[in-house]
Symmetry: C2
């Protein structure tokens, strides 16, 4: 029995928020159905941000509703504020991911409020869920963007990230994700900060959301694995970027992340060759976008799974 | 004082052995001069293989001679056999890297002999150097290609790699390099095999030669750092590939490797911004080639060196 590791596909959310093509609702759902058939079971399906901010998500409610009908998957949605959460609760998704920034300046750019105000907003989201009688039915996670530095502000104090994580758990977060939104993190920093945050979150699972902006993404996954992290966001073909983080292209690539985790001896449930076929189809839907990732180009090694080691 | 880590630029050797453009001798030298000015001090400058096998290296002797005139650098050359070594000794380079394959099938494809015969050849190279009175003047390293698996043969027994390393050291190798020629290695395997080889090489330094064919290259560098490796081959813009390893494009990228090592707190001596400028110039010399690497595209983080950790 191999230990499990989990990849959450964020392509339909982070992956397409900056692309030129507005995908049809049906294509967004087809993407998830096809990846589900390749073994991906967790998705961030869409984002409940205003369509005037990110036009791609004009159909967030329809996509979320559609995702609920795909057998065997756990669709989550991203919400930036209470209003987004209310829309998500209306649809009835089983998991809502709230996001705020550890960088005050990034948080201001993103949602026009301080990080403390965003933490207060998170408390209201938890209260709203509970008031609707959805406790135990809707899981609420919280992501801390720019945990490893910010293109606007520069350094982000690690103590502050630990403090925010602690406050979010206290407020009721059922998963905490540390996000390297702009690709500033390095393996030493990843190990240090995840280890520090692990100490304050109790039994609440930690997840990692990395971008490969500067080439360290997969090394950072390895570093997070080293300190016990088993939940990773990734995007098909490494698509992705943040509208408020210039140059922050590229989530870590789902195919390469799956290849790494399987090579390290983990069971991701993913059939990488099937995943590569999905990527090839999605590529035809997004003309002019840059598709990242290496294993999709080179194919799996002849030694795939022969030389795997048990996870350390 | 930060601990030092060493990058050997293999672009003028591994990087250009498969490209379409035959660079002029002067351009090959200009490349090294410019990288030297960016702080890169170790180079694999050329390869003494027959020009009919790799036409790019028709001017190997001239390039090696020219490299000797670049101040402050340590130019090495690759040799595949005794004849190549004799040509290198004639030129008077201070370092000669011999390469053989742990995979019998790859070694047959590459040099048409068994791995044991190649080890015997290495003994003759050492004897030839000593007979010429060059002991103490010319350092001879040995690289073990396909140490982590082979596109032709598939798995390569780790015991065999350890045995070959041991035989090479016994024969007089002054550096042993484990090469993931085809990009099959993963971080668990890297840690395991380098740790095992470390036990048999005594004081002889170990080096790593990785390809990023399947996206794990930089993660593999991190893994090698974890087990004490401080010498890395890398190629500007991730150029490279092996004529006898189909699909084996892409050494690890020098810029991203330097960015990783510096971010982990090591002193590589490299000015990454200057290195990116060299890359941009070399890109104009090699039309139609794919340039890899991420930090060259995104630029250094605002937090560069602020958030570095001392190496573990």
């Amino acid at each position: 029995m191999r230990e499990k590791a989990f990849i959450r596909e964020v392509g339909p959310r982070d992956g397409i928020q900056m692309v030129k093509t507005i995908l049809s609702t049906e294509r967004k759902l087809e993407w998830m159905r096809k990846e589900a058939a390749a073994g991906v079971k967790r998705f961030e399906a869409t984002s409940f941000v205003p369509a005037k901010v990110v036009p791609q998500f004009h159909d967030a409610a329809e996509v979320a509703q559609g995702a609920l009908t795909i057998p065997g998957i756990e669709p989550a949605v991203l919400v930036p504020n209470l209003k987004g959460a209310q829309r998500a609760f209306d649809v009835g998704v089983p998991k809502v991911n709230y996001v705020l920034s550890a960088s005050e300046m990034h948080n201001q750019s993103n949602v026009r409020r301080s990080t403390d105000e965003s933490i207060e907003d998170f408390r209201r989201i938890i209260a709203e869920r509970d008031a609707r009688g959805l406790k135990g039915k809707v899981e609420i996670g919280a992501g801390i963007a720019t945990s490893f530095g910010c293109t606007i502000q520069g350094p982000v104090p690690e103590k502050r990230v630990v403090e925010i994580a602690s406050l979010l758990v206290e407020a009721g977060a059922q998963e905490v994700s540390l996000a390297d939104t702009v690709g500033y993190g390095n393996p030493a920093q990843i190990r240090r900060l995840f280890a520090a945050v692990t100490k304050v979150v109790g039994n609440v699972p930690l997840a990692a959301h990395f971008h490969d902006t500067r080439g360290l993404g997969i090394a950072n996954v390895t570093a997070a694995v080293d300190v016990g992290i088993r939940r990773f966001d990734a995007s098909l073909a490494g698509l992705g970027g943040c509208p408020f983080a210039p140059g922050a292209t590229g989530n870590i690539d789902t195919e390469d992340t799956a290849f790494l985790l399987e090579s390290l001896g983990f069971d991701t449930g993913i059939d990488i060759e099937k995943l590569i076929a999905v990527r090839q189809e999605v590529e035809t839907w997004l003309p002019g976008e840059r598709f990242f990732g290496m294993v999709a180009r080179a194919g799996l090694p002849k030694t795939y799974r022969d030389t795997t080691a048990a996870a350390a």
